[in-house]
């Protein structure tokens, strides 16, 4: 049986939600935390697309794993045949 790939190790990611109501506060706090005011921004729609893309990747990984498990189980010797 071939060994499974190494489990994934994910780093935490922080999201900031900014609207016109908290823009000034965000700039102040973000600059205080990170030193520089430079960030990557996503629209709400793109954030939703990103989340759906991650969901698709997760589905693919899990289904691929399920199929691998299926073949692993199929290739196992039949226990009942051994005892017969």
């Amino acid at each position: 049986m071939v060994a499974r790939p190494k489990p994934i190790d994910l780093a935490d990611t922080r999201v900031y939600v900014v609207s016109k109501n908290n823009l000034e506060e965000f700039i102040a706090e973000f600059t205080d935390e990170n030193g520089e005011l430079a960030f990557v921004a996503l629209s709400i729609g793109d954030y939703e697309n990103l989340a759906l893309n991650v969901a698709e990747l997760r589905r693919y990984i899990n289904q691929q794993t399920d199929i691998i498990v299926y073949y692993e189980e199929s290739m196992k010797p039949d226990e009942t045949a051994k005892t017969d």
Binding site: V15, E29, R58
Partner: protein, 165 residues
């Protein structure tokens, strides 16, 4: 003299009948032995055949069972994406972002942290899946919704959960 000839003929006939009977007997025994051997071979072949059929039937049952289990698992893997799509349709993130950005931020960060841990757990990273939440998430951050598959945010209405140092 004629008696002697008759006697010879009778002995000859008896001898012929006896030889014929002997040949018939030995030939029949030979046939019986051959048939017994063939029968034994057929029994062995039959046992092998039955054993093969049983093995194939067991294999077919096992394959059917595994296939059914696979179909269930494949469907289950679709659940997260389906739930997420439904949640995103129900929610209005734009309105939430304008109304209370800190609240939405905390829900997003909580759900995201939960998602990363779930994915790590699914690939076998048990330590990663149970690691502490990042420091910018308060304990009441609401790490995802009640369901583990509801997407990038939960429906929590708690206040700001994002620490700002």
């Amino acid at each position: 003299m004629s008696r002697v000839y008759i006697l010879l003929i009778v002995f000859g006939l008896l001898g012929g009948v006896g030889f014929g009977a002997y040949k018939y007997y030995t030939d029949t025994q030979q046939r019986i032995q051959t048939l017994a051997e063939n029968n034994a071979k057929l029994e062995v072949a039959l046992e092998t055949s039955e054993s093969s059929i049983n093995a194939l039937q067991a294999q077919a049952q096992q394959t059917a069972k595994l296939t059914n289990e696979l179909q269930v698992k494949l469907q289950k893997a679709e659940a997260y994406g389906d739930n997420l799509r439904n949640r995103l349709r129900q929610l209005d993130l734009l309105a939430d972002a304008i109304a209370d950005p800190k609240n939405l931020e905390g829900r997003m960060n909580g759900a995201t942290a939960k998602l990363w841990r779930e994915i790590m757990g699914e690939t076998g990273n048990t330590s990663g899946s149970s690691s502490n939440l990042p420091n910018w998430l308060q304990p009441n951050a609401g790490t995802g919704s009640e369901s583990s598959n509801t997407g990038t945010e939960d429906s929590s209405t708690s206040g700001s959960q994002t620490q700002t140092n």
